[in-house]
């Protein structure tokens, strides 16, 4: 196998949703949730995908998993374009791609014990057919995520938020995936527990050679965990580069505004800090602005931004941004 080839390549991904025009009327329209997004992830790498609610980051993840069928574009995973595969062909591929959700409580079946939850994918995919061996594997997985063997007999409601997220991680690990899509995996957790889970994700990555797509809105957490970062706004990637370049020398005005909005836990520093507070709100993806979609809120927009769609172009080596002024 060619190890230099990316594990995952997303090419010109487009996902439209049709809304309205149903039983209760309303004008029919098209939501451009993801609008021509391309990126790739190398084996063992973590790509952070950041943006505000409705920017398309979660839909991008769901398209990669083929939980949503893309409107256009290709999802090339281990050299195969998943968009051309049927359900039967997809099943073995799904084993290689797992997901960890934001809210562990709603993503765990309340009527199953932790042991049953973790054992289920092992049985469904026929990975460990023997029940006794399966129980042993469950114990091993619990150990990997920092839980005890006796946790296997508990129900999700008997666990704390952090412990539930550990169960979600153990379930994802059970099938030995290559790629894990982490969709806001720590944002529902308490601050003191967030750091535990992030450390765990990093340890597991090193131990099992995992590749992560880390979808989140918290820029401090994303900086900590990511090798490269993509910033999304209204269905498009507006900036993508390695971690250091993005945080040390951001090019897109939206990235700069996001970074400036993050509060810093230090009153003395905050008192001196100039803050770029963006006016307005994220426009509707039903009716996105003309030209650059960010122009109505952009502090440096010029006339050209209204008419011209900026291309995501390489401005410095390995650093791409979609802004004509960058």
């Amino acid at each position: 196998m060619n190890h230099d080839a990316p594990l995952l390549e997303v090419r010109n991904l487009v996902k439209h949703f049709h809304v309205g025009g149903g039983l209760f009327g309303g004008r029919a329209g098209v939501v451009r949730a993801v609008d021509d997004v391309s990126f790739s992830i190398r084996r063992g790498e973590t790509l952070g995908l950041v943006g505000e609610s409705g920017c398309g980051k979660t839909t991008t993840g769901r398209c990669i998993l083929q939980l949503e069928r893309p409107t256009r574009g290709q999802i090339v995973f281990e050299g195969r374009d998943l968009t051309t595969l049927g359900e039967d062909e997809l099943r073995p591929v799904r084993r290689k791609m797992q997901v960890i959700f934001q809210d562990p409580y709603s993503s765990l079946n309340p009527r199953m014990t932790v042991g049953q939850i973790i054992a289920e994918p092992l049985a469904v995919h026929g990975i460990v057919p023997d029940p006794a061996q399966r129980a042993a594997r469950v114990r091993e997985l619990l150990g990997h995520v920092g839980l005890l063997p006796q946790h296997a007999r508990r129900y999700p409601h008997q666990l704390s938020g952090g412990q539930r997220q550990r169960v979600g991680i153990a379930r994802a690990l059970a099938v030995e995936p290559a790629l894990i899509i982490c969709d806001e995996p720590v944002s529902a957790l308490d601050v003191s527990i967030q750091a535990q889970i992030i450390n765990l994700l990093e340890d597991l990555q090193a131990q099992f050679g995992l590749t992560y797509l880390f979808v989140a809105h918290d820029l401090s957490v994303v900086r900590h965990i990511s090798d490269r970062v993509a910033v999304m706004y209204l269905g498009k990637i507006v900036e993508i580069t390695d971690r250091k370049s993005l945080y040390d020398a951001p090019l897109h005005p939206y990235t700069k505004a996001l970074l400036s909005a993050v509060p810093i836990p230090d009153p003395a520093l905050e008192a001196q800090r100039e803050r770029v507070v963006l006016g307005g709100e994220v426009p509707s993806a039903l009716n996105p602005p003309s030209g650059c979609v960010f122009h109505p809120r952009c502090p440096i927009a010029v006339d050209r931004c209204r008419g011209e769609v900026p291309e995501l172009r390489e401005i410095r080596p390995g650093h791409r941004a979609a802004c004509i002024l960058a």
Partner: protein
């Protein structure tokens, strides 16, 4: 600056299947006139219950206030009649909640939700109330207020709804606003807008604020003083500057260290607080934080520390090792 609100030994209990939980266990704190004070802590620490207790909105029979006093402008709110308390709520003390959609009435127009309180509390005519409602929307930065008054909550975005909540809170010129995680449900850029708006309005209108949050970053920029809560008790209090520069409770220190910060070089590894928050039905005699504490000594397991002064300026900490903490921190900092 006079004291506006003084909470003394407030104790609120809830009856749960696991037993009786003291959500607020003898907490005392105060808010000065025009001051912004924060209650910081993680879920279940008792910060929201403290605010609900002040408003006497703890729901019986499961929850009840079993002790303490809440002195507002010198009057004990816990001793007032229900009718007198209704005069306080929304008029003298207003509240802003985390999720504006669930605290707005979906079938009443924005205008009606604003004018209702004005008519009830201020006894003004519907026409006057309507005009005041328009002014309030403009004040919180909602443009085109005439048209907006006729709309319904679902036609507002999350940020607009929170602006609307702020307008409702300000409607009767209260002297205190209790804001419970006011920006947690909002996006980062909208969060910044709302916080700047709240800060600006509180200064301009001289309204005191109690901000309840789990986000230490939010507090750093907006609070004058900070109370840190853990397992139903206040474990540390001080001015924001003092608390961040010189934390003297291991829990505060742990919270500050566990978050990655954009203004600092990236660390190879985060420094979490190990373990889980305690089960409030099974608290022992010792310090509730002891099982997770890196600085614990033998005494911590058997005897609960009280808040004691650290230096001057009202900085207090409930930790047996508080006096030694700065040296211990320097040591552990050097070791990493």
């Amino acid at each position: 600056m006079g004291v506006l609100l003084e909470v003394e030994n407030l104790t609120t209990e809830f009856v749960t299947r696991g037993g009786v939980v003291r959500a607020a266990d003898g907490v005392s704190w105060d808010v000065g006139e025009g001051e912004t004070v924060a209650l910081v802590g993680e879920s279940g620490c008792g910060k929201s219950v403290s605010a609900l207790s002040i408003m006497r909105l703890v729901a019986p029979p499961a929850g009840r206030i079993v002790g303490g006093r809440v002195l507002f402008k010198g009057r004990d709110l816990l001793a007032l009649s229900d009718e007198a308390m209704r005069q306080i709520r929304g008029r003298e003390i207003a509240m802003i909640f985390q999720e504006p959609m669930t605290s707005l009435n979906p079938v009443l127009s924005i205008g009606r939700q604003l004018t209702e309180g004005l008519e009830i509390h201020l006894g003004i005519t519907p026409r006057e109330a309507r005009q005041r409602a328009g002014e309030l929307l403009a004040m919180v930065g909602i443009p085109d207020s005439e048209r907006r008054l006729g709309q319904y909550p679902h036609q507002f975005s999350g940020g607009m709804r929170q602006r609307m909540m702020i307008a409702m809170a300000l409607a009767c010129n209260p002297s205190l606003i209790l804001a419970d995680e006011p920006t947690t449900a909002l996006d980062v850029t909208i969060q910044a807008q709302i916080l700047e708006l709240m800060k600006d309005l509180s200064r301009r209108l001289a309204v005191a604020m109690l901000i309840i949050t789990h986000n230490l970053g939010v507090v750093a920029r907006y609070a004058d003083r900070v109370n840190v809560m853990y397992a139903g008790r206040i474990v540390e209090r001080g001015t924001a500057r003092e608390l961040y520069a010189n934390p003297r409770h291991p829990y505060t220190l742990g919270l500050l260290r566990s978050v990655p910060r954009l203004d600092e070089p990236r660390r190879a590894r985060l420094d979490p607080i190990e373990g889980q928050p305690p089960d409030l039905t099974r608290l022992g005699a010792g310090c509730a934080f002891a099982p997770r504490c890196a600085f614990q000594v033998a005494r911590c397991a058997v005897e609960r520390p009280r808040l004691v002064p650290i230096g001057g300026g009202g900085h207090v900490s409930a930790c047996w090792e508080a006096a030694n903490l700065d040296r211990a921190v320097a040591r552990s900092g050097a070791a990493t």
